[in-house]
């Protein structure tokens, strides 16, 4: 019982991570893949922050008289990770806009079909 | 004095949470977009106000109270503007409000009312 109470936060994180992973690989729509990636990233953040928490401690801002603080090191790592995550999401969305302009569709399977068709046409031209 | 303050703040916090809950129930149960937005916007603002007043009574230090008053003013300003933005977006995109239900009820009510008044 103590093991379940002590470890359940990791299990919830793993469930979230797996849902995000499933969204990335099972859906063809590119924006949904990026949202799945976002869910995956946020679950990793939750993992790190929950590792850094110490029971009975306060936020890591120095105050008179308080001895026990939560660990500031995971907070720093995740702060960096959040901002880098939004940067890559923005770039990914910009790429999606250009793909839409070039292909006309956003679904991965349809884009693959159009690429295959273009390659077949190119082979026919060369022969 | 301490007991009275904490009792008052608990009272305000409870009212605030009840308003939030009722707003949620309203969003689920109202039949139309505009009525739902009315439920969300009005109860949201009032619930935030009540919760902030409850928090102010929890910790009567001057700096904290001033910060909370500023947050309260901004919420009172921005939340109705946001609801207005939502409603205007719907109206501009010709989302029809659900008026038929009301008219049917009115007709049946006025018909029965006329009957009772005539007879």
């Amino acid at each position: 019982m103590t093991m379940i109470l002590g470890l359940y936060n990791y299990w919830v994180v793993i469930v979230l991570m797996m849902i995000g992973f499933y969204i990335i690989i099972a859906h063809g729509h590119l924006i949904k893949k990026i949202i799945g990636l976002n869910i995956f990233q946020t679950s990793v953040f939750i993992f790190y922050i929950s590792v850094g928490k110490v029971e009975g401690a306060t936020a890591p801002i120095w105050q008179e008289g308080i001895i026990l603080y939560s660990n500031p090191l995971p907070h720093v790592l995740i702060l960096t990770a959040i901002v880098v995550g939004i940067a890559t999401t923005a770039l990914g969305l910009a790429l999606i806009i250009r793909i839409k302009e070039a292909y006309g569709v956003i679904d991965e399977d349809e884009i693959q079909a159009m690429d295959n068709q273009a390659m077949v046409n190119q082979d026919k031209e060369h022969q | 004095m301490e007991g009275v303050l904490s009792l008052l703040s608990a009272f305000f916090l409870l009212i605030g949470s009840f308003l939030c809950l009722s707003g949620g129930v309203g969003i689920l149960r109202f039949p139309d977009f505009y009525t739902r937005m009315h439920a969300a916007g009005v109860t949201d603002t009032l619930a935030a106000t009540m919760i902030l007043i409850g928090l102010m009574l929890q910790n009567p230090e001057m700096l904290v109270i001033i910060k909370l008053i500023l947050i309260l003013l901004m919420t009172l300003f921005i939340s109705p503007a946001a609801s207005h933005a939502l409603g205007q977006a719907a109206a501009l995109n010709n989302l029809p409000p659900l008026v038929d239900l009301h008219i049917k009820d009115l007709e049946s009510a006025s018909a029965s009312g006329d009957k009772t008044s005539k007879s």
Partner: protein, 324 residues
């Protein structure tokens, strides 16, 4: 949060999915507050629930609202996910329990940061002292990554300005003034307060949650709000494209030059103790300047990204003669 993630998986309407992603970010921000991570909660709320939702909505507006049905059965994906999840859960059995004070992560470097931060750097917010001083080089890399993302979005999405299009678009924006009067007046009065709050968060990051990133995002949010209400061309008259590009490069340059000045003064790269006569004053000065650099770059890159997205949208609408 598991419920929200499952709903994102199932729902086919992209608008609803993007809104759910925003709610997911906000709920995780409140989770971070419950875990005593106030700086992280601040950043996640402003970035994950604000900017990210905005950019995704812009993309959905440009690419269509529904998702097509999947053409193949996702059984293989389910099996793969289940196997990976099972292996990971097996791996957690060795991990320390939640909240225990003697976990390995709390033992080596963290006590030194917590207990010596006040003596060596003199800044109450330990996250800022670690971010800006102890691990300042990582933050430099992060600012460079943001700058690179801005350059990438510019390279992908920038549109040449054409003066005759500008006049037509401005005419449309002015004619809508009556329709949007309430919003324009109400929100225009709030913009100075939001900018003031951004400055407060920037310079108060030493004493409470805050710092360069959050301040930059809040500043950009105020400018983006102005652009959304009054039209992109009106916002471009306030914040011209060359100016904002200069600012983004200036932020990175400021950060790097603090490091170089430290080297010139005899210390190593990004060692702030040699910047002033007293080491603690030097640390304060160094942290102030680099947080300013970070705030500048983040704000200008967010503005660049939003302006590029909406300029592309206007360009698409002008070319196709209607909405997609």
């Amino acid at each position: 949060m598991v419920g929200i993630a499952l709903a994102v998986n199932q729902i086919k309407d992209m608008f609803a999915v993007v809104m759910l992603a925003g709610i997911y970010g906000l709920v995780s921000a409140s989770f971070f507050v419950a875990m005593d991570a106030v700086d992280v909660a601040f950043t996640e709320a402003s970035v994950g629930a604000g900017i990210s939702t905005l950019l995704m909505l812009t993309t959905v507006a440009m690419t269509g609202r529904t998702e097509h049905e999947a053409s193949h059965k996702p059984l293989l994906a389910l099996i793969l996910v289940a196997i990976t999840g099972g292996l990971l859960i097996y791996g957690t059995f060795d991990m320390p329990y939640f909240g225990s004070a003697d976990a390995a992560v709390h033992n080596h470097v963290a006590p030194r940061y917590i207990y010596d931060s006040m003596k060596e750097i003199g800044v109450p917010n330990m996250v800022t002292s670690v971010l800006a001083s102890y691990r300042g080089f990582d933050t430099f890399g992060e600012v460079t990554v943001i700058f690179t993302a801005g350059i990438g979005v510019l390279a992908l999405l920038s549109v040449a300005q054409r003066p005759k299009d500008d006049a037509a678009i401005e005419a449309i924006n002015d004619s809508m003034h009556e329709k949007h009067l309430i919003l324009r007046v109400a929100i225009k009065t709030m913009i100075p307060f939001i900018l003031l709050y951004a400055f407060y968060v920037q310079f108060h990051g030493d004493y409470g949650p805050g710092g360069g990133f959050q301040a930059g995002v809040i500043f950009a949010a105020a400018i983006i709000m102005y652009a959304m209400l009054f039209g992109l061309s009106a916002a471009r008259r306030v914040i011209t494209q060359p100016f904002v590009q200069l600012l983004s490069a200036l932020g990175v340059l400021l950060y790097g030059s603090v490091g170089v000045v430290s080297m010139i003064n005899g210390g190593s790269f990004l060692d702030y103790s040699v910047l002033a006569a007293d080491p603690i004053a030097g640390q304060h000065l160094g942290i102030l300047i680099i947080e300013l650099g970070v705030g500048l770059t983040v704000a200008s890159v967010m503005i660049i990204i939003f302006f590029s997205f909406s300029a592309r949208r206007e360009y698409q609408q002008a070319n196709k003669g209607g909405s997609l």
